[in-house]
């Protein structure tokens, strides 16, 4: 399960950025507040760094009203494509897994 979480987390990041640019803290807080993801906030920063190196996201510094400048992340065209590919695959994958899990549950009910 933890491997599955880790593998899908980067697409969760891309999905959040599809709605618009966000700065690191904002992005990290939003993800960590999703209970099911169970992610430590600090481990998202290395992931962001990797996405930037893979050219799926870009960063820019922008002034903030409350403190030092913030590093904003935004999606590149390559990131948008990667997200679209993943979304297609994920829906099929999820449906198959759901179908198999539900099949198993029904099996258990019959046994009782």
């Amino acid at each position: 399960m933890s491997q599955l979480r880790k593998g899908t987390l980067e697409y969760c990041v891309l999905a959040l950025l599809e709605e618009g640019q966000r700065y690191g803290f904002e992005l990290v807080r939003t993800l960590s507040e999703e209970d099911g993801l169970m992610v430590s906030e600090g481990t998202i920063y290395p992931l962001l760094s990797r996405l930037r190196r893979d050219l799926l996201v870009e960063t820019s510094w922008q002034e903030s009203e409350t403190g030092p400048p913030r590093r904003y992340y935004h999606l590149t065209d390559a990131g948008r494509r990667a997200l679209a590919d993943f979304s297609d695959g994920w829906i099929k994958f999820r449906d198959s897994v759901d179908a198999l899990l539900q099949h198993k549950e029904k099996g258990h009910e019959r046994e009782r």
């Binding site: 960590s32 920063y45 590093r71």
Partner: protein, 171 residues
């Protein structure tokens, strides 16, 4: 609230720096800058001295080991590693540090070295060469020390010759 004001946070950052020392320089600098910015942002919403709240911010962040493990994971095969450019001032600082130029090089090495380190820190992983700048700075200080020693030696020598040449007339 300042990140560096809280002993818990200071401990955490020291620990993180120690654990992260095995990462490549530019990845480490970037990670530390991001974590510092995160803490800065998170702690601004926390009343000063509220230890429980500070602990919860650090808990949510995760252990330094966990974070560094995530940063150290190898990249998937077939992808090239992005290597950020080296800061030009850092290289210049090193060269000036090596070529002493009668002390002028040392001053230049120091000025450029400190400026390079500031720029590299500000780039948060976008530039490398912090160790080059540090070597330039060290060489710069050595050069200045040599200059001072040479000046003192020359002065002492001059004073000694002055007294020896002056003694027959006074004595």
């Amino acid at each position: 609230m300042n990140v560096n004001a809280d002993p818990l946070v200071e401990d955490y950052l020291r620990h993180l720096e120690a654990v992260a020392s095995g990462l490549p320089e530019y990845r480490r600098e970037e990670l530390l800058a991001e974590i510092r910015a995160h803490l800065d942002e998170a702690l601004r919403q926390v009343p000063a001295g509220d230890e429980t709240a500070v602990r919860s911010v650090l808990d949510r962040l995760g252990s330094p080991e966990e974070i560094v493990a995530a940063a150290a994971e190898p990249m998937p095969a077939g992808q090239f590693a992005y290597v950020p450019p080296t800061n030009g001032l850092a290289i210049a600082s090193l060269l000036f540090g090596i070529f002493w130029f009668g002390g002028i090089g040392s001053v230049a090495a120091l000025v450029l070295g400190y400026r390079a380190r500031r720029e590299i820190r500000k780039s948060a992983g976008g530039q490398r060469g912090s160790s080059l700048a540090t070597i330039g700075i060290v060489l710069g200080w050595i050069g200045i020390a040599l200059l001072v020693i040479a000046a003192v030696a020359a002065f002492v020598l001059l004073a000694a010759t002055a007294t020896t040449s002056g003694s027959p007339t006074t004595g």
